[in-house]
């Protein structure tokens, strides 16, 4: 097939491209709806000073990149995956000396008027490297060593990102857990992970002591109902006891420790406000400055979510129509064009519009999974699962936070949120997949 009759469109999954274009155009329209202020539209688009014109420009740049990706050879990605990964890590490290402080984040390098956020970009490289590693023939995910290497590939950039005060972007890396799971991580991890998540949420919702008593009772019930099995195998009682001890340890010591010492107080407050509670600050251990900050964040965080809920809630069934949203048009929701872009859809097009948008995303993600499963090469499959996981994580967390079921974590809505780096990152991520899929008959190594 090499260069003989090269056709760029051959094997391309057009449905993905179509959904991609719809989402990007919807994004530009939403940014237009929130930032348009009765200026001349043509000028507005040509001037490159308005947000919607800049977003259009990013789209054009992305489109050019997409064409380039489709023109490359699939083998290029398997060959260069590790090099790219190293390049990404270097870029992340370079941020530390060369960053510009923008709104409290240390993750941005600025070139004149354009900004680059390596933490965002790095997702592609991690995905490539992970796919490369997981597709190698000599590994087995049941081995501890393999697990460790796979986890490290993901965690190194995650830690670097956290160090740049971009915890939200770092959390995205945890979505690669799904890829590793698909490739054979023992199922126990999923159960344990899920149970742990439930335990942490319960810790937030229920008073410490009551939860401890509840867990003890639960352990007691288990022993009571399974006493026959236990009398047969005495070691089971130790298992139950160990699980009980671990759970109580997590809810009584690990979670409070994590909240008080690892996370910043305002982040804890964010998490608490999602379940509608106030974080009880230990005033002795916390500095006055932090206390002030937490108060500010409490107010601002609640304000954001409240306003965003009002905007979306007031949309009703059919919404108020484009450019007619009273909430999104007049800056009631902070960060509207970036992280809270979904409010525009929610207010302007109501429940139907939101449902349609969610449908588009769900279609895209399921389509990507379907594509993943039809790959002959496990590299392509791993990569596709990576794309699906990252998209899913972004969409769920982003929309979840605008409607108040997920703590406010500043990550963009794929293809729609304002921002050049994010736009380009997601485009590249998607089009590499489309490129790989076009060559799905090939076995890539």
């Amino acid at each position: 097939m090499k260069n003989s009759s090269f056709d760029i469109s051959k094997g391309v999954d057009w449905s993905l491209v179509l959904v991609y274009v719809i989402l990007v155009v919807t994004g530009i329209a939403s940014i237009f709806a929130t930032t348009y202020r009765d200026e001349n539209i043509v000028n507005g688009f040509l001037s490159l000073t308005t947000d919607y014109s800049r977003q259009t420009l990013y789209f054009l740049i992305s489109a050019v990149l997409a064409v380039f990706i489709l023109l490359t050879d699939s083998k290029f990605y398997t060959a260069t995956a590790n090099i790219f990964y190293v390049f990404g890590i270097i870029l992340l490290i370079l941020v530390f000396p060369f960053h510009t402080d923008v709104k409290g984040t240390k993750s941005i390098i600025r070139f004149s008027s354009f900004q680059l956020q390596p933490a965002e970009l790095c997702k592609i490289f991690v995905n490539l490297a992970l796919a490369k590693y997981l597709s190698s023939t000599d590994i087995a995910l049941s081995k501890l060593k393999t697990m460790f290497i796979a986890a490290s590939l993901v965690l190194i950039p995650a830690i670097l990102t956290i160090m740049q005060s971009e915890t939200g972007l770092a959390l995205v890396y945890f979505s690669f857990f799904l890829v590793i799971y698909r490739e054979g991580l023992p199922s126990a991890f999923l159960s344990i992970g899920f149970s742990l998540a439930v335990l942490v949420v319960l810790t937030l919702l229920i008073d410490q002591d009551i939860l401890a008593v509840g867990l003890t009772l639960l352990a007691g019930f288990v022993v009571f109902f399974f006493k026959r099995q236990i009398s047969r195998r005495k070691s089971l009682i130790f298992v139950v006891f160990a699980i009980w001890a671990f759970s109580v340890g997590v809810q009584r010591f690990a979670v409070p420790y994590f909240f008080n010492h690892v996370l910043k107080p305002y982040q804890v407050q964010r998490i608490y406000s999602t379940v509608g509670k106030d974080f009880q600050v230990d005033t002795k251990t916390i500095s006055e400055e932090d206390l002030k900050k937490i108060e500010e964040k409490k107010k601002a965080g609640n304000y954001n979510v409240k306003q965003s809920k009002i905007a979306i809630g007031s949309g009703g069934f059919f919404g108020k129509g484009l450019l007619k949203g009273t909430q999104t048009r007049y800056d009631f929701v902070p960060e509207q064009r970036t992280d809270f872009i979904f409010c525009t859809i929610g207010e302007g097009f109501g429940f139907m519009g939101s449902l349609l948008l969610l449908g588009l995303y769900l279609f895209m993600i399921f389509r990507v999974i379907r594509i993943a499963e039809r790959q002959r090469s496990s590299f392509s499959r791993c990569y596709a699962y990576g794309v699906a996981s990252v998209l899913f994580f972004h969409v769920f967390i982003n929309i979840g936070m605008t409607i108040g079921i997920v703590p406010v974590i500043g990550i963009p809505l794929p293809f729609m949120s304002y921002g050049g780096t994010a736009q380009i990152t997601f485009t590249v991520l998607l089009f590499i997949l489309i490129r790989l899929d076009a060559d799905r008959q090939m076995i890539l190594r």
Partner: protein, 681 residues
């Protein structure tokens, strides 16, 4: 290996599917299940602005406007736009100092925030307005001028009648079920209050979209829900503003009241209460200050004595006592009494002003000379009327007469908070005298003393009744409302003719003639007017006051009631001057001037001299003046303190100028700080 984990794709699909389902369910609740967010969104983004129409104008009987609207200007401040403005220039024009400027800026920010304009100085004086208007381009957009209509009273008269408007308070808000909003103005007293629904017109509402900083961005839904304001309607009154001004001049330096009524219609020609005040004091920017001083003045200038002052009517009650006695048949017009200066029928003698024999030989003479003995006697005859069998029945019958004459009941004038006066009930005497009382117990009622109390308006109305020979219309100011509507029922009750009792005209004729005699040759000779047949009656009412905790007898109130011309009455007047002695001394001449002014439409040179003489005479109890002086010295002390503070202020040095800029800058740095700085996890 892929084959081994093939089933896991479905687990992943399930996880993703469930997550999306959670999002959709949450959206369902947020967007469809609750309308809470709709309301919150409207609350957030739509401001309802009430547009006030111009209030209606009040005209007098000759079509002169006595209450109208004028424009004043407020200087508005927009704190966010102050950067780099010549704020010192503004201070110089307003003649305020830097600390004052800071105070006002701060209170403006506290009240309305930085992004919305607030009033910096309300109702600018003409001089300041002109200076500011010339220079306003230098101060824009941080400062701008805004028009505001206020009420104005071109004759500076009839303060008690016209009333004033003021901002609504929380009790009014509750009472009107939040028809008004905070910051609204409404009539708070007088005609402004009584005719509020007519004068206020119909409010318009404008819905505007605002942004997150509460700035107005534009109309909501292209003004689809807006309604325009409809101007208030005008009132045409019976008042004669010249007569009103004269009445107020006559009451200058005195406490008391003058009421003049047109008997045929019940229309009030003039209603004055002394002391009065310039109603323009209660508009404009000094309103609060002036109001508090008026409120604290010991002579109570805000108190409308014409409808709320309750005085014993004294001898002015005698004409109707005569009518009642005649109607009851207990006397004939020829009935006479041999009075020698005192009534001795009861335990304590009641003294009489006249002593010569035959001054009470018949009803006419007794009324002309205002014989106390005669009227004490006929009062007792009325109460002890054998037809009624008991004293209680006789008294109740007499009380019914009084009430039908409009005494002891509210007349229903078109002013708020009228008082009813007082005619005691039998239960009052039963309680005090343990049920054993006779006509001697309250014999003083016969000469208008004792427990009886009446308002000047009631006395004027009484004159209308006698002038009309037995009927009256409820005294009222408003003749008609411009652009009448079906729904205007407010004036209906003033069109009803009230017949008092069926006292025959002959009795009225007798009383009218006797009252003319009073003016021609009796106690009120000083009130006689050349060429006008006037019927009148003087009154000298004894009264008591509590001074420093002790009940003391005070100087008599001077009363005069009259109507003229007797044949074809056009005006009925009641005058009371507190603590001014004989009725003939002050009240008589004042009433006569009122009548002459109204009937002849002018006064002669000599009569104007008389007006000046009365005007310049001060009749105020020493105690009132002493208390007022104490209050005034307090006020003076405050003024002096203010002056001292002003002098202590050193003009701005160059250093201070910089400081001045810096303070403004500091406000700005605060202002420019974003309200919701974002930082995500």
């Amino acid at each position: 290996m892929p084959a081994i984990n093939q089933s896991r794709q479905n687990v992943i699909r399930l996880i993703i599917g469930i997550s999306f389902l959670i999002l959709i369910i949450r959206l369902l609740f947020l967007q469809l299940a609750s309308s809470k967010y709709d309301l919150l969104a409207i609350d957030n983004a739509v401001s309802k602005k009430v547009i006030f129409p111009e209030r209606g104008i009040v005209f007098d009987r000759k079509g002169k406007s006595i209450l109208e609207n004028t424009q004043t200007y407020d200087l508005m401040i927009l704190p966010t736009q102050l950067m780099g403005l010549d704020t010192q220039g503004v201070c110089a024009i307003l003649k305020i100092e830097l600390p004052e400027f800071k105070d006002r800026l701060l209170s403006a920010i506290i009240k309305n925030g930085r992004y919305r304009p607030s009033i910096f100085e309300a109702s600018l004086s003409t001089e300041t307005f002109v200076q500011l208007q010339e220079n306003i381009y230098r101060f824009e957009p941080g400062f701008f001028l805004q028009e505001r209509p206020i009420r104005s009273y071109p004759y500076k008269a009839a303060a008690h009648v016209l009333g004033y408007v003021g901002e609504v308070d929380s009790s009014i808000l509750k009472r009107t079920n939040f028809f008004y909003q905070i910051g609204d103005y409404m009539g708070l007293s007088g005609l402004e209050r009584f005719y509020e629904p007519i004068l206020m017109g119909q409010r318009g509402v404008r819905y505007q979209v605002k942004d997150n900083k509460n700035r107005i961005v534009g109309p909501y839904e292209q003004g689809r829900f807006d309604s325009i304001a409809i101007a208030g309607r005008n009132l045409r009154t019976y008042m004669d503003i010249d007569l009103q001004v004269l009445a107020e001049r006559l009451l200058k330096n005195k406490l008391g009241a003058i009421v003049a009524i047109e008997p045929k219609t019940g229309g009030i020609l003039a209603l004055a209460s002394g002391p009065t005040y310039d109603p323009n004091q209660l508009t404009g920017n000094q309103r609060r200050n002036n109001f508090s001083w008026l409120l604290r003045d010991t002579s109570r200038p805000l108190f409308n004595r014409a409808i709320k002052g309750q005085y014993p009517p004294g001898s002015t009650i005698k004409p109707i006592q005569a009518l009642v006695a005649l109607d009851e048949g207990v006397i004939t017009p020829n009935f006479g009494l041999n009075c020698r200066g005192a009534y001795l029928g009861c335990r304590r003698p009641i003294s009489c002003e006249e002593k010569f024999a035959g001054h009470a030989a018949n009803l006419r003479l007794a009324l002309t000379h205002s014989c106390n003995s005669y009227f004490s006697h006929i009062y007792r005859l009325t109460i002890d009327n054998p037809n009624e069998r008991t004293t209680v029945n006789g008294y109740l019958r007499w009380k019914r007469y009084m009430n039908s004459f409009g005494l002891g009941v509210k007349l229903g004038v078109d002013l708020p908070s009228e008082d009813r006066g007082y005619i005691p009930d039998t239960s009052f005497y039963n309680r005090i005298y343990n049920k054993s009382w006779s006509s001697c117990t309250n014999v003083f009622l016969g000469i208008g003393q004792g427990e009886m109390q009446a308002t000047p308006l009631q006395m004027a109305n009484l004159m209308s009744i006698i002038a009309n020979k037995g009927y009256y219309y409820i005294p009222h100011f408003v003749k008609s409302i411009d652009d009448p509507r079906e729904s205007d029922t407010i004036l209906n009750r003033y069109k009803i003719k009230h017949n008092v009792t069926n006292i025959p005209d002959t009795f009225y004729n007798i009383v009218q003639m006797a009252m003319q005699e009073v003016v021609e040759s009796g106690t009120a000779r000083g009130a006689r007017i050349e060429g006008i047949a006037m019927s009148g009656k003087t009154g000298t009412a004894e009264n008591y006051g509590i001074i420093y905790g002790k009940r003391e007898k005070l100087a008599n109130h001077s009363w005069f009631v009259c109507f003229a011309p007797r044949e074809n009455p056009k005006i009925a007047v009641a005058v009371v001057v507190e603590n001014a002695g004989f009725g003939a001394t002050w009240a008589g001449p004042m009433a006569s001037l009122m009548v002459e002014k109204y009937l002849k439409d002018t006064l002669s040179q000599a009569r104007w001299k008389e007006v000046e003489r009365i005007e310049s005479k001060e009749i105020i109890l020493p105690i009132v003046k002493a208390k007022r002086r104490a209050l005034d010295s307090l006020r003076l002390q405050r003024l002096r303190n203010k002056q001292l503070r002003k002098q202590a202020f050193v003009p701005l040095s160059p250093f201070d100028e910089k400081n001045h800029e810096r303070i403004i800058l500091a406000f700005h740095l605060n202002a420019l700080k974003p309200d919701h700085e974002e930082q995500f996890i």
